[in-house]
């Protein structure tokens, strides 16, 4: 239930900020071409990997020897929203929501889009709660409109899409559209990634003039400017947008979260998933040879004798594997091949902290105690409910609050990659597999391999992660005798008190693996 003064305050904020600043406060950025990706028409798909971007040691302004990767863009809102817990409780969150790829997100896909998709004008007017409200199919940047002033001034022609947005559309869709987990992001190595964070304000907490940020957790050699730590950088105020710019780092399972008052904003739900697919997916022919090609670009090579922080030197054994599949890492030997992938984020909610967060009460950190244990924002049995979960928010509108089920469907005889990350802020969490071993191939977005090229992947039935960690697990169902079609296995936590949904002694951190 919004109180009228809250709405007034928010509108005041939205109006005041542009009055102070000379530039438009909400805007998106998604260039169709850049220095690194000079040909606009080539940036809307991933080209095959043909060789090093820069051979030798020469770099800019030398033209790329081969243009690799593409341009990807995404817009997210920073604000608040509600989600539904496994016992039916409606829970208040500080949260991010999708403002691009809204249909893809609702379908459990990343909201990361090529420029040709991102830079499309909203079809008609989106309604609060969309895409849940009207069922509209749209993956472009919410709010994107031609810049009429620039058109009138003759400073641009054609569609005149220069990142100018209609703030009304941003607010209609962005307010209270929070998701748990936050919108999924996926990029490919060599991509340039333009991530626009639009701060729509937390309408249930108008007393908080909170900024939000994106911390790309694990980005190697990060700049502090785009690292999202407000103490060390800048943070975007309510009523404005900030575009983060990243060259995709080494392949792996990363994740992202807000870094404002982390014990509060992370517990309240501002956590999401992000992974980077390897160059090797785009290689044709021998994988070993493709990895040798990557050694020719100093940015992508891994020489263990000079770089102590690279994890994928040439494998000790050339298996002769050839490309064409999907891989977790640039392994050069096909050891991380998989057929289907599932991002799984572990998190925990302390319901009393969330209630306090909604009701302006003092917060305690030391004795924070999670009572809901979440896989992709849901507890069992919601984890195996297909499609997006929706929650009615305080605006009276249903929003897709938890788009990601965690049903692991593996086609018989195939392999599934589980990209597991943990952003719990209170304790370590264990996830175990009954019946089908977990093959751990990567930890903290790095291939498990020693400097001599020996693979260090291992089988286990239980993994334990702290908040701030990730690992990659392959469930190998190629043995159809052991794992026949129709069989069901379980992923669950042996932290047995976490198999609960608050007071219900049932549910919690658990989901199902189906062999189809």
């Amino acid at each position: 239930m919004r109180k009228p003064y809250q709405i007034c305050l928010l509108m005041l904020l939205v109006c005041l900020v542009p009055a102070v600043a000379s530039a438009q406060s909400f805007r998106v950025q998604c260039p169709t071409s850049t220095i690194t990706h000079p040909t606009a028409t080539s940036n809307n798909s991933e080209p095959a990997y043909a060789g090093p971007t820069y051979a030798g040691t020469s770099g800019y302004p030398a033209a790329p020897a081969h243009v690799n990767g593409a341009i990807k863009c995404q817009q997210i809102s920073g604000g608040d929203g509600y989600s539904t817990m496994g016992d039916g409780t409606q829970t208040y969150m500080f949260s991010f929501g999708p403002l691009s790829g809204i249909s893809d997100i609702a379908n459990g896909l990343p909201g990361t889009e090529f420029p040709s998709v991102f830079n499309t004008v909203t079809p008609g007017l989106l309604q609060p709660g969309d895409p849940a409200t009207t069922g509209i199919t749209y993956n472009g940047a919410v709010g994107l409109v031609p810049d009429r002033d620039a058109l009138a001034a003759g400073s641009c022609t054609g569609l005149c899409l220069d990142g100018h947005v209609d703030p009304r559309q941003i607010m209609d869709v962005g307010v209270m559209n929070g998701n748990i987990p936050a919108p999924l992001m996926a990029i490919d190595e060599d991509d340039e990634f333009f991530l626009t964070l639009t701060n729509v304000g937390m309408i249930m907490r108008p007393d908080l003039f909170e900024q939000h940020t994106v911390h790309f957790h694990g980005y190697p050699n990060a700049s502090s400017f785009y690292d999202g730590v407000p103490d060390a950088s800048v943070a975007i105020n309510i009523g404005a947008s900030f575009t983060y710019y990243y060259l995709a780092p080494d392949a792996g399972t990363y994740f992202w979260h807000c870094h404002i008052t982390p014990p509060e904003h992370l517990q309240m739900g501002m956590v999401g998933q992000l992974y980077v697919r390897p160059r090797q997916n785009r290689a044709t022919g021998a994988l070993y040879a493709a990895l040798q090609q990557q050694q020719l670009d100093l940015r992508t090579k891994c020489d263990s004798t000079t770089d102590i922080l690279c994890s994928n030197p040439l494998p000790a054994v050339n298996t002769g594997a050839t490309g064409g599949g999907k891989y977790a890492y640039n392994d050069g030997d096909g050891s991380t091949a998989y057929d289907v992938e599932y991002p799984i984020q572990i998190h925990g909610f302390d319901p009393s902290f969330h209630f306090i967060g909604m009701t302006f009460n003092p917060e305690e950190f030391a004795d924070m105690k999670d009572k809901f244990f979440l896989l992709n924002g849901r507890s069992y049995p919601d984890t195996v409910t297909p499609g997006p979960l929706q929650t009615q928010s305080a605006d009276g509108v249903n929003h897709f609050s938890q788009p990601l089920p965690t049903i692991i469907n593996i086609p018989a005889g195939k392999k599934a990659l589980l990209r597991i990350s943990d952003l719990d802020v209170t304790e370590y969490q264990t996830l175990a597999s009954i019946g089908i071993p977990m093959n751990v191939v990567g930890i903290n977005a790095k291939l498990l391999r020693d400097q001599a090229g020996n693979n260090l992947n291992y089988n286990t039935n239980s993994i334990t992660l702290a908040g701030g960690e990730s690992l990659d697990v392959i469930l190998d169902a190629t043995d159809t005798t052991k794992y026949p079609s129709g069989s069901v296995f379980y992923l669950y936590t042996p932290n047995l008190d976490h198999l609960s949904n608050d007071a219900e002694n049932f549910g919690g951190l658990m989901t199902e693996v189906h062999i189809n």
């Binding site: 990060a222 008052t261 100093l298 922080l309 903290n444 908040g467």
Partner: protein, 544 residues
């Protein structure tokens, strides 16, 4: 002293936050760190009580090891003003060399009612124990008594030492510390090549060498240019209040007499203080041996230059695990508890994992290597601008075999990643940095600056002053009128990392159990420190 935990209102929390940030800003913008300690190989220690300071104003009754008499020496030599009080948390860092026979004489100066105390040296085999009385895990010193432990420091690496007597209470009270064993023979490659270039770059700017050695192990892959020691622990103040009250109630009692003992409940456990080297943020970023912390001499305040191999010596000293997240890059784990992890097929190759979150585990020490360079940003971190009239904006970048500018040891951009040299980030910058890049930054009025924001997206005072229109002389930008002593406005008025002073890239290193970056329910605090990557013109001085 109030034994109940105070519940803080949010408004109060935020007020305190503002006050703490203001306090942090008052600190001089100098850098301090390294892995200081005392040298042996004979150490005369005592276990005594004292009060340790927390940033919420509390003085917490604690027990710690300290020096009974002045130690043989302090290391590193470049840190002056070193002290070793009779009680400190963590205990003195014992620095020895591989192969030495180490002798530790421990005197029990704890209150009589606290009973016996002792030290365990996990990872070492005691060659002799002299004096004391028999305990469960080791020989103990009775109240007022002594015990002597001897062992050979057989292999290099970082290890923990801690009380082996009633550990649930004594370790909680602060009886723990670190032993660093330096390799007997430093591999030759740790003093030549890039290691020598890095040293030459330090020397050019008059920087001291704060290392204890040039290598962590007897292994060519364990070279380092800079080092830090971080000991993670947590404190439940109720346990300390109980101990304090019981010790006071039993003052003057006779050892062994009925009732001359403590009965402190150490469960259920509700820690409210989360410490790095015995201090909570922001105290951990004050200097080593700062007078305001007479019983917490060691800080947590890492700094480094691009390309330096930085050795992290990290120990879990509490009873909980803490996921220590290093922003900025991964850490290669070299070894744990002095056990180097090598490839099964090639002993010249490392096999420890690469982690961006390095969990600390009770009683476990690890050594790891971290570095930061701007490799892979796809823009020039120094904002070089070939069209500028400013010579330092037009420096060259000559890549070595790995792509870094390492031949010019006297240059500001030593160790620049050359593939992105001159590559613009901003489409239309308003300062003296290159344009034509991929992104547009928002109007500075739309964002909020952090106290450790260097003032621009670029690294170092030279780049930041150019990027904000504050270059000197003919290159002064249109905003030069706003350029004051604290830097440029907009966008920044920061002091902790000012645009004209340090202007480093700041990264938060912290526990990712985020509730642990609080001090007794106040954010920010606890297990948090800011690591700064500094351009070469900023002199990292870990001595003050």
């Amino acid at each position: 002293m109030n034994a109940t935990k105070t519940k803080k209102a949010i408004s109060k929390t935020r007020l305190l936050l503002a006050a703490m940030v203001a306090m942090a800003l008052l600190l001089p913008a100098t850098a301090h760190g390294a892995a200081p300690g005392i040298t042996g190989p004979t150490f005369n220690l005592t276990a005594q009580p004292a009060y340790i300071s927390q940033p919420d104003g509390s003085m917490i009754y604690s027990w710690g090891y300290g020096c009974r008499v002045a130690p043989s020496g302090f290391a590193p030599a470049a840190i002056s003003g070193a002290t070793c009080p009779t009680m400190q948390v963590p205990g003195p860092t014992l620095i020895v060399t591989e192969g030495q026979t180490v002798t530790v004489n421990l005197a029990n100066g704890l209150p009589t009612s606290a009973g016996n105390t002792s030290i365990l040296f996990p990872g070492f085999s005691l060659t002799s124990t002299t004096g004391g009385v028999a305990g469960v895990l080791t020989q103990e010193a009775a109240p007022g008594g002594t015990v002597t432990y001897s062992f050979v420091a057989g292999t290099p690496g970082t290890r923990a030492y801690y009380s082996g007597t009633q550990g649930d209470l004594q370790v909680e009270m602060g009886l723990y510390g670190a032993i660093i064993v330096l390799p007997a023979a430093v591999p030759a490659n740790c003093s030549t090549g890039l290691a020598a270039s890095n040293l030459a770059a330090e020397a050019h700017w008059g920087e001291h060498d704060f290392r204890l050695s040039h290598a962590a192990y007897d292994h060519a892959k364990s070279c380092y240019d800079r080092e830090y020691l971080f000991q993670f622990s947590e404190m439940d103040p109720d346990i300390h209040y109980q101990a304090q009250a019981q010790v006071a109630a039993r003052a003057g009692c006779v050892a062994g007499a009925a009732g001359c003992s403590l009965n402190v409940a150490t469960e259920p456990y509700h820690p409210a203080y989360f410490l790095i080297n015995g201090r909570s943020m922001p105290d951990d970023m004050d200097p080593n041996y700062a007078v305001e912390y007479p019983h917490q001499p060691y800080n947590g305040n890492p700094h480094m230059h691009p390309g330096e191999q930085v050795l992290l010596r990290v120990i879990g000293q509490g009873r909980w695990q803490h996921p220590f997240h290093e922003h900025g890059n991964h850490v290669r784990i070299l070894g744990r508890d002095g056990n180097l992890i090598l490839s099964a097929t090639d002993p010249t190759s490392l096999a420890g994992p690469l982690l961006f979150t390095t969990s600390t585990t009770p009683g476990l020490a690890f050594d790891g290597i971290f570095y930061w360079t701007a490799k892979g940003l796809n823009w020039d971190a120094y904002g070089h601008n070939p069209a500028s009239g400013d010579a330092s904006a037009k420096l060259s970048c000559t890549p070595d075999a790995n792509g870094y500018n390492t031949s010019a040891t006297a240059a500001i951009n030593y160790f620049e990643w050359c593939q992105d040299h001159n590559k613009p980030m901003e489409l239309a910058p308003f300062g003296d940095v290159p344009g034509g890049g991929p992104t547009t930054l928002p109007d500075p009025n739309l964002f909020t600056n952090g106290p450790w924001y260097g003032g621009s997206p670029y690294l170092g005072p030279d780049a930041t002053l150019r990027a904000t229109g504050c270059s000197a002389g003919t290159n002064a930008g249109p905003l030069a009128v706003n350029c004051g002593a604290t830097g440029s406005t907009p966008p920044s008025g920061t002091i902790a990392n000012s645009p004209s002073g340090e202007a480093g890239f700041a990264f938060m290193w912290h526990s990712h159990n985020e509730r642990e970056i609080t001090t007794n329910n106040i954010f920010p605090g606890g297990m948090l420190m800011m690591m700064l990557v500094d351009s070469r013109e900023f002199v990292i001085d870990e001595s003050n």
